[in-house]
Point group: C2
Chain length 194, copies 2
Protein backbone atom coordinates (compact mmCIF):
# COMPACT_ATOMS: atom_id res chain seq x y z
CA UNK A 1 0.00 0.00 0.00
CA UNK A 2 1.20 3.46 -0.80
CA UNK A 3 0.84 6.21 1.79
CA UNK A 4 -2.11 8.58 1.51
CA UNK A 5 -1.10 12.13 0.64
CA UNK A 6 -0.91 14.25 3.78
CA UNK A 7 -3.13 16.92 2.25
CA UNK A 8 -6.08 16.04 0.04
CA UNK A 9 -5.57 17.17 -3.54
CA UNK A 10 -7.79 20.06 -4.54
CA UNK A 11 -10.64 19.11 -6.84
CA UNK A 12 -10.15 20.35 -10.41
CA UNK A 13 -13.90 20.82 -10.82
CA UNK A 14 -16.60 21.71 -8.29
CA UNK A 15 -20.26 21.85 -9.30
CA UNK A 16 -19.19 21.46 -12.93
CA UNK A 17 -17.01 24.56 -12.88
CA UNK A 18 -13.28 24.46 -13.62
CA UNK A 19 -11.91 25.79 -10.34
CA UNK A 20 -8.60 26.99 -11.82
CA UNK A 21 -10.33 28.76 -14.73
CA UNK A 22 -12.65 30.50 -12.27
CA UNK A 23 -9.70 31.59 -10.11
CA UNK A 24 -7.88 32.89 -13.20
CA UNK A 25 -10.98 34.87 -14.25
CA UNK A 26 -11.31 36.47 -10.82
CA UNK A 27 -7.61 37.34 -10.75
CA UNK A 28 -7.81 38.94 -14.21
CA UNK A 29 -10.87 41.04 -13.23
CA UNK A 30 -9.18 42.19 -10.04
CA UNK A 31 -6.09 43.25 -12.02
CA UNK A 32 -8.14 45.13 -14.64
CA UNK A 33 -11.67 46.09 -13.60
CA UNK A 34 -12.58 47.15 -17.14
CA UNK A 35 -12.66 43.44 -18.07
CA UNK A 36 -15.80 43.11 -15.92
CA UNK A 37 -17.79 45.40 -18.24
CA UNK A 38 -20.21 43.34 -20.32
CA UNK A 39 -22.88 44.28 -22.84
CA UNK A 40 -25.49 41.68 -23.76
CA UNK A 41 -27.73 42.04 -26.82
CA UNK A 42 -30.82 40.65 -28.51
CA UNK A 43 -32.55 41.33 -31.81
CA UNK A 44 -36.25 40.59 -32.13
CA UNK A 45 -38.61 40.47 -35.11
CA UNK A 46 -42.37 40.61 -34.81
CA UNK A 47 -44.10 37.88 -36.80
CA UNK A 48 -47.84 38.26 -36.15
CA UNK A 49 -50.13 38.84 -33.17
CA UNK A 50 -48.36 37.74 -30.00
CA UNK A 51 -45.65 35.85 -31.91
CA UNK A 52 -42.13 37.22 -32.26
CA UNK A 53 -38.65 35.77 -32.40
CA UNK A 54 -35.32 36.81 -30.93
CA UNK A 55 -31.85 36.02 -32.17
CA UNK A 56 -29.01 36.20 -29.66
CA UNK A 57 -25.36 35.70 -30.53
CA UNK A 58 -22.82 38.45 -30.03
CA UNK A 59 -21.94 40.27 -26.83
CA UNK A 60 -19.10 42.35 -25.49
CA UNK A 61 -17.15 41.30 -22.42
CA UNK A 62 -13.70 40.71 -20.95
CA UNK A 63 -12.40 43.54 -23.12
CA UNK A 64 -13.53 42.28 -26.50
CA UNK A 65 -16.36 41.22 -28.78
CA UNK A 66 -17.14 37.56 -28.14
CA UNK A 67 -16.84 35.29 -31.20
CA UNK A 68 -17.34 31.91 -29.53
CA UNK A 69 -20.81 31.25 -30.91
CA UNK A 70 -20.87 29.71 -34.35
CA UNK A 71 -24.62 30.22 -34.69
CA UNK A 72 -27.25 32.44 -33.11
CA UNK A 73 -29.70 31.17 -30.52
CA UNK A 74 -33.34 31.68 -31.55
CA UNK A 75 -36.22 31.94 -29.09
CA UNK A 76 -39.88 32.33 -29.99
CA UNK A 77 -42.43 34.16 -27.88
CA UNK A 78 -46.06 33.12 -28.24
CA UNK A 79 -49.29 33.30 -26.27
CA UNK A 80 -51.87 30.74 -25.15
CA UNK A 81 -55.41 30.86 -26.60
CA UNK A 82 -56.78 32.68 -23.53
CA UNK A 83 -54.31 35.45 -24.41
CA UNK A 84 -55.29 35.45 -28.11
CA UNK A 85 -52.50 33.15 -29.30
CA UNK A 86 -51.97 29.53 -30.23
CA UNK A 87 -49.11 28.48 -27.88
CA UNK A 88 -46.46 29.27 -30.47
CA UNK A 89 -43.93 29.52 -27.64
CA UNK A 90 -43.63 30.47 -24.00
CA UNK A 91 -44.85 33.99 -23.41
CA UNK A 92 -42.58 36.86 -22.38
CA UNK A 93 -43.52 36.85 -18.70
CA UNK A 94 -42.80 33.11 -18.60
CA UNK A 95 -39.40 33.64 -20.23
CA UNK A 96 -38.71 36.16 -17.47
CA UNK A 97 -39.30 33.40 -14.89
CA UNK A 98 -36.94 31.11 -16.83
CA UNK A 99 -34.27 33.83 -16.80
CA UNK A 100 -34.73 34.40 -13.08
CA UNK A 101 -34.65 30.69 -12.22
CA UNK A 102 -31.48 30.17 -14.23
CA UNK A 103 -29.70 33.19 -12.83
CA UNK A 104 -30.40 32.41 -9.19
CA UNK A 105 -29.33 28.80 -9.83
CA UNK A 106 -26.06 29.67 -11.56
CA UNK A 107 -25.21 32.35 -9.00
CA UNK A 108 -25.88 29.82 -6.23
CA UNK A 109 -23.73 27.00 -7.62
CA UNK A 110 -20.96 29.42 -8.65
CA UNK A 111 -20.58 30.90 -5.18
CA UNK A 112 -20.95 27.41 -3.68
CA UNK A 113 -17.87 26.44 -5.71
CA UNK A 114 -16.03 29.51 -4.40
CA UNK A 115 -16.80 28.30 -0.87
CA UNK A 116 -15.82 24.72 -1.65
CA UNK A 117 -19.39 23.49 -1.23
CA UNK A 118 -20.43 20.63 -3.50
CA UNK A 119 -24.05 20.79 -4.67
CA UNK A 120 -25.60 17.40 -5.31
CA UNK A 121 -29.01 18.55 -6.53
CA UNK A 122 -30.75 21.88 -7.08
CA UNK A 123 -34.19 22.67 -8.44
CA UNK A 124 -36.57 25.60 -8.23
CA UNK A 125 -40.27 26.28 -8.67
CA UNK A 126 -41.31 29.81 -9.54
CA UNK A 127 -44.71 31.48 -9.32
CA UNK A 128 -45.46 35.04 -10.34
CA UNK A 129 -48.77 36.83 -9.90
CA UNK A 130 -50.05 39.46 -12.27
CA UNK A 131 -53.28 41.37 -12.88
CA UNK A 132 -53.93 41.79 -16.61
CA UNK A 133 -55.97 44.92 -16.00
CA UNK A 134 -52.56 46.59 -15.96
CA UNK A 135 -51.44 45.38 -19.39
CA UNK A 136 -54.81 46.17 -20.89
CA UNK A 137 -55.01 49.66 -19.41
CA UNK A 138 -58.36 48.89 -17.75
CA UNK A 139 -57.25 50.25 -14.36
CA UNK A 140 -54.31 52.62 -14.26
CA UNK A 141 -53.84 51.95 -10.52
CA UNK A 142 -52.86 48.34 -11.33
CA UNK A 143 -49.17 47.75 -12.14
CA UNK A 144 -48.81 45.86 -15.43
CA UNK A 145 -45.90 43.74 -14.20
CA UNK A 146 -45.49 41.01 -11.64
CA UNK A 147 -46.80 41.87 -8.19
CA UNK A 148 -44.32 39.47 -6.61
CA UNK A 149 -42.34 36.42 -7.66
CA UNK A 150 -41.93 33.47 -5.30
CA UNK A 151 -39.18 30.92 -5.68
CA UNK A 152 -39.14 27.63 -3.82
CA UNK A 153 -35.64 26.21 -3.90
CA UNK A 154 -34.77 22.60 -3.19
CA UNK A 155 -31.10 21.89 -2.64
CA UNK A 156 -28.94 19.03 -1.44
CA UNK A 157 -25.33 19.78 -0.62
CA UNK A 158 -22.39 18.65 1.52
CA UNK A 159 -22.68 21.43 4.09
CA UNK A 160 -24.76 22.52 7.04
CA UNK A 161 -28.18 24.13 6.92
CA UNK A 162 -26.67 27.36 8.20
CA UNK A 163 -24.10 27.43 5.39
CA UNK A 164 -26.87 26.82 2.86
CA UNK A 165 -29.01 29.66 4.23
CA UNK A 166 -26.04 32.02 4.09
CA UNK A 167 -25.21 30.94 0.54
CA UNK A 168 -28.83 31.40 -0.55
CA UNK A 169 -29.00 34.92 0.84
CA UNK A 170 -25.73 35.72 -0.94
CA UNK A 171 -27.00 34.31 -4.26
CA UNK A 172 -30.24 36.28 -3.97
CA UNK A 173 -28.28 39.50 -3.49
CA UNK A 174 -25.75 38.84 -6.26
CA UNK A 175 -27.86 37.29 -9.04
CA UNK A 176 -27.96 39.76 -11.97
CA UNK A 177 -31.53 38.88 -13.04
CA UNK A 178 -32.83 38.84 -9.47
CA UNK A 179 -31.19 42.23 -8.91
CA UNK A 180 -32.66 43.59 -12.16
CA UNK A 181 -36.15 42.53 -11.07
CA UNK A 182 -35.84 43.69 -7.43
CA UNK A 183 -34.29 47.04 -8.25
CA UNK A 184 -35.72 49.74 -10.54
CA UNK A 185 -33.66 49.46 -13.75
CA UNK A 186 -34.17 52.09 -16.44
CA UNK A 187 -35.41 50.89 -19.85
CA UNK A 188 -34.91 53.49 -22.57
CA UNK A 189 -36.86 52.94 -25.79
CA UNK A 190 -35.87 54.96 -28.82
CA UNK A 191 -37.68 54.79 -32.13
CA UNK A 192 -35.40 54.49 -35.14
CA UNK A 193 -36.33 57.13 -37.68
CA UNK A 194 -36.91 55.76 -41.16
Amino acid sequence: MTAQPAVAEKASHINGFDVQAAADTIAALKADKSLAKFQFRARNNWITGGVNRSTIRDFYGAGQEDTSRTAAFEFTNGEPPVLLGNNEGGNPVEFLLHALAGCVTTTFVLHAMARGITIRELSTELKGDMDLQGLLGLDESVSPGYEQINIKLHVEADCSDEELEDLLAYAEEHSPVCNTVCRPVPVVIERAKA
Copy 2:
Protein backbone atom coordinates in the same frame (compact mmCIF):
# COMPACT_ATOMS: atom_id res chain seq x y z
CA MET B 1 -72.13 46.74 -60.32
CA THR B 2 -73.37 46.48 -56.80
CA ALA B 3 -73.25 49.52 -54.57
CA GLN B 4 -70.34 49.86 -52.16
CA PRO B 5 -71.38 49.52 -48.52
CA ALA B 6 -71.83 52.96 -46.96
CA VAL B 7 -69.56 52.05 -44.09
CA ALA B 8 -66.43 49.97 -44.58
CA GLU B 9 -66.72 46.57 -42.95
CA LYS B 10 -64.63 46.19 -39.87
CA ALA B 11 -61.55 44.02 -40.30
CA SER B 12 -61.87 40.65 -38.55
CA HIS B 13 -58.14 40.65 -37.79
CA ILE B 14 -55.70 43.48 -37.14
CA ASN B 15 -51.99 42.79 -36.60
CA GLY B 16 -52.79 39.08 -36.46
CA PHE B 17 -55.21 39.45 -33.56
CA ASP B 18 -58.86 38.40 -33.78
CA VAL B 19 -60.56 41.73 -33.10
CA GLN B 20 -63.84 40.20 -31.90
CA ALA B 21 -62.06 37.75 -29.57
CA ALA B 22 -60.06 40.63 -28.11
CA ALA B 23 -63.23 42.69 -27.58
CA ASP B 24 -64.94 39.71 -25.92
CA THR B 25 -61.95 39.25 -23.60
CA ILE B 26 -61.98 42.90 -22.57
CA ALA B 27 -65.74 42.81 -21.96
CA ALA B 28 -65.42 39.68 -19.81
CA LEU B 29 -62.63 41.22 -17.71
CA LYS B 30 -64.61 44.39 -17.22
CA ALA B 31 -67.62 42.38 -16.05
CA ASP B 32 -65.56 40.26 -13.64
CA LYS B 33 -62.21 41.72 -12.63
CA SER B 34 -61.15 38.48 -10.94
CA LEU B 35 -60.71 36.99 -14.42
CA ALA B 36 -57.71 39.30 -14.89
CA LYS B 37 -55.75 37.54 -12.12
CA PHE B 38 -53.03 35.36 -13.63
CA GLN B 39 -50.28 33.26 -12.11
CA PHE B 40 -47.41 32.14 -14.34
CA ARG B 41 -45.00 29.38 -13.34
CA ALA B 42 -41.71 27.74 -14.20
CA ARG B 43 -39.80 24.76 -12.88
CA ASN B 44 -36.05 24.61 -13.28
CA ASN B 45 -33.47 21.86 -12.75
CA TRP B 46 -29.78 22.48 -12.41
CA ILE B 47 -27.69 20.22 -14.65
CA THR B 48 -24.05 21.23 -14.13
CA GLY B 49 -22.03 24.44 -13.89
CA GLY B 50 -23.93 27.24 -15.61
CA VAL B 51 -26.32 24.83 -17.33
CA ASN B 52 -29.91 24.42 -16.18
CA ARG B 53 -33.25 23.79 -17.83
CA SER B 54 -36.76 25.13 -17.27
CA THR B 55 -40.05 23.50 -18.10
CA ILE B 56 -43.06 25.75 -18.53
CA ARG B 57 -46.58 24.55 -19.12
CA ASP B 58 -49.38 25.27 -16.66
CA PHE B 59 -50.63 28.63 -15.47
CA TYR B 60 -53.71 30.05 -13.82
CA GLY B 61 -55.77 32.73 -15.53
CA ALA B 62 -59.25 33.80 -16.58
CA GLY B 63 -60.64 32.03 -13.52
CA GLN B 64 -59.17 28.59 -14.12
CA GLU B 65 -56.11 26.40 -14.60
CA ASP B 66 -55.08 26.51 -18.24
CA THR B 67 -54.99 23.14 -20.00
CA SER B 68 -54.33 24.28 -23.56
CA ARG B 69 -50.74 23.08 -23.73
CA THR B 70 -50.33 19.45 -24.67
CA ALA B 71 -46.60 19.51 -23.86
CA ALA B 72 -44.26 21.63 -21.76
CA PHE B 73 -41.91 24.17 -23.28
CA GLU B 74 -38.28 23.54 -22.37
CA PHE B 75 -35.59 26.21 -22.31
CA THR B 76 -31.91 25.70 -21.51
CA ASN B 77 -29.67 28.28 -19.89
CA GLY B 78 -25.96 28.05 -20.61
CA GLU B 79 -22.91 30.28 -20.54
CA PRO B 80 -20.20 31.18 -23.06
CA PRO B 81 -16.58 30.06 -22.46
CA VAL B 82 -15.59 33.48 -21.09
CA LEU B 83 -18.20 32.86 -18.38
CA LEU B 84 -16.99 29.31 -17.71
CA GLY B 85 -19.50 27.54 -19.96
CA ASN B 86 -19.67 25.99 -23.41
CA ASN B 87 -22.57 27.90 -25.02
CA GLU B 88 -25.10 25.28 -23.99
CA GLY B 89 -27.85 27.89 -24.40
CA GLY B 90 -28.44 31.60 -24.09
CA ASN B 91 -27.56 32.84 -20.65
CA PRO B 92 -30.11 34.12 -18.12
CA VAL B 93 -29.44 37.82 -18.68
CA GLU B 94 -29.85 37.27 -22.44
CA PHE B 95 -33.17 35.47 -21.86
CA LEU B 96 -34.26 38.54 -19.89
CA LEU B 97 -33.62 40.67 -22.99
CA HIS B 98 -35.65 38.21 -25.08
CA ALA B 99 -38.52 38.46 -22.60
CA LEU B 100 -38.37 42.25 -22.62
CA ALA B 101 -38.21 42.49 -26.41
CA GLY B 102 -41.18 40.19 -26.81
CA CYS B 103 -43.29 41.89 -24.18
CA VAL B 104 -42.78 45.42 -25.52
CA THR B 105 -43.51 44.12 -29.03
CA THR B 106 -46.71 42.29 -28.12
CA THR B 107 -47.95 45.17 -25.96
CA PHE B 108 -47.26 47.54 -28.86
CA VAL B 109 -49.08 45.56 -31.57
CA LEU B 110 -51.96 44.70 -29.19
CA HIS B 111 -52.70 48.32 -28.34
CA ALA B 112 -52.15 49.27 -32.00
CA MET B 113 -55.00 46.87 -32.81
CA ALA B 114 -57.16 48.50 -30.14
CA ARG B 115 -56.57 51.84 -31.85
CA GLY B 116 -57.19 50.44 -35.33
CA ILE B 117 -53.56 50.93 -36.36
CA THR B 118 -52.12 48.33 -38.73
CA ILE B 119 -48.45 47.48 -38.14
CA ARG B 120 -46.58 46.42 -41.25
CA GLU B 121 -43.22 45.70 -39.69
CA LEU B 122 -41.73 45.84 -36.21
CA SER B 123 -38.28 44.90 -34.97
CA THR B 124 -36.17 45.78 -31.95
CA GLU B 125 -32.51 45.75 -30.97
CA LEU B 126 -31.69 45.55 -27.28
CA LYS B 127 -28.47 46.30 -25.43
CA GLY B 128 -27.95 45.92 -21.71
CA ASP B 129 -24.83 46.92 -19.79
CA MET B 130 -23.62 45.10 -16.71
CA ASP B 131 -20.51 45.06 -14.52
CA LEU B 132 -19.64 41.51 -13.45
CA GLN B 133 -17.89 42.76 -10.32
CA GLY B 134 -21.42 42.80 -8.92
CA LEU B 135 -22.20 39.13 -9.64
CA LEU B 136 -18.80 38.06 -8.37
CA GLY B 137 -19.01 40.10 -5.18
CA LEU B 138 -15.72 41.87 -5.96
CA ASP B 139 -17.17 45.33 -5.27
CA GLU B 140 -20.31 45.57 -3.15
CA SER B 141 -20.97 49.10 -4.45
CA VAL B 142 -21.59 47.66 -7.94
CA SER B 143 -25.15 46.47 -8.65
CA PRO B 144 -25.13 42.90 -9.99
CA GLY B 145 -27.95 43.55 -12.47
CA TYR B 146 -28.29 45.60 -15.62
CA GLU B 147 -27.30 49.23 -15.24
CA GLN B 148 -29.69 50.21 -18.03
CA ILE B 149 -31.34 48.53 -20.99
CA ASN B 150 -31.67 50.34 -24.31
CA ILE B 151 -34.17 49.35 -26.97
CA LYS B 152 -34.07 50.65 -30.50
CA LEU B 153 -37.44 50.06 -32.13
CA HIS B 154 -38.06 50.10 -35.86
CA VAL B 155 -41.70 50.22 -36.90
CA GLU B 156 -43.69 50.77 -40.06
CA ALA B 157 -47.40 51.41 -39.70
CA ASP B 158 -50.36 53.09 -41.37
CA CYS B 159 -50.48 56.08 -39.02
CA SER B 160 -48.72 59.34 -38.30
CA ASP B 161 -45.42 59.74 -36.47
CA GLU B 162 -47.29 61.40 -33.61
CA GLU B 163 -49.64 58.43 -33.26
CA LEU B 164 -46.66 56.07 -33.24
CA GLU B 165 -44.86 58.05 -30.54
CA ASP B 166 -47.99 58.06 -28.40
CA LEU B 167 -48.49 54.31 -28.92
CA LEU B 168 -44.85 53.60 -28.05
CA ALA B 169 -45.07 55.57 -24.79
CA TYR B 170 -48.26 53.67 -23.94
CA ALA B 171 -46.65 50.28 -24.70
CA GLU B 172 -43.62 51.15 -22.58
CA GLU B 173 -45.87 51.98 -19.63
CA HIS B 174 -48.14 48.94 -20.00
CA SER B 175 -45.72 46.13 -20.90
CA PRO B 176 -45.60 43.64 -17.99
CA VAL B 177 -41.92 42.73 -18.43
CA CYS B 178 -40.87 46.36 -18.97
CA ASN B 179 -42.81 47.30 -15.85
CA THR B 180 -41.24 44.44 -13.87
CA VAL B 181 -37.75 45.64 -14.85
CA CYS B 182 -38.40 49.37 -14.33
CA ARG B 183 -40.16 48.97 -11.01
CA PRO B 184 -38.81 47.24 -7.87
CA VAL B 185 -40.61 43.88 -7.78
CA PRO B 186 -40.13 41.68 -4.70
CA VAL B 187 -38.57 38.26 -5.25
CA VAL B 188 -39.09 35.95 -2.29
CA ILE B 189 -36.88 32.84 -2.15
CA GLU B 190 -37.81 30.11 0.28
CA ARG B 191 -35.78 26.98 0.79
CA ALA B 192 -37.82 23.80 0.82
CA LYS B 193 -36.96 21.80 3.92
CA ALA B 194 -36.05 18.21 3.17
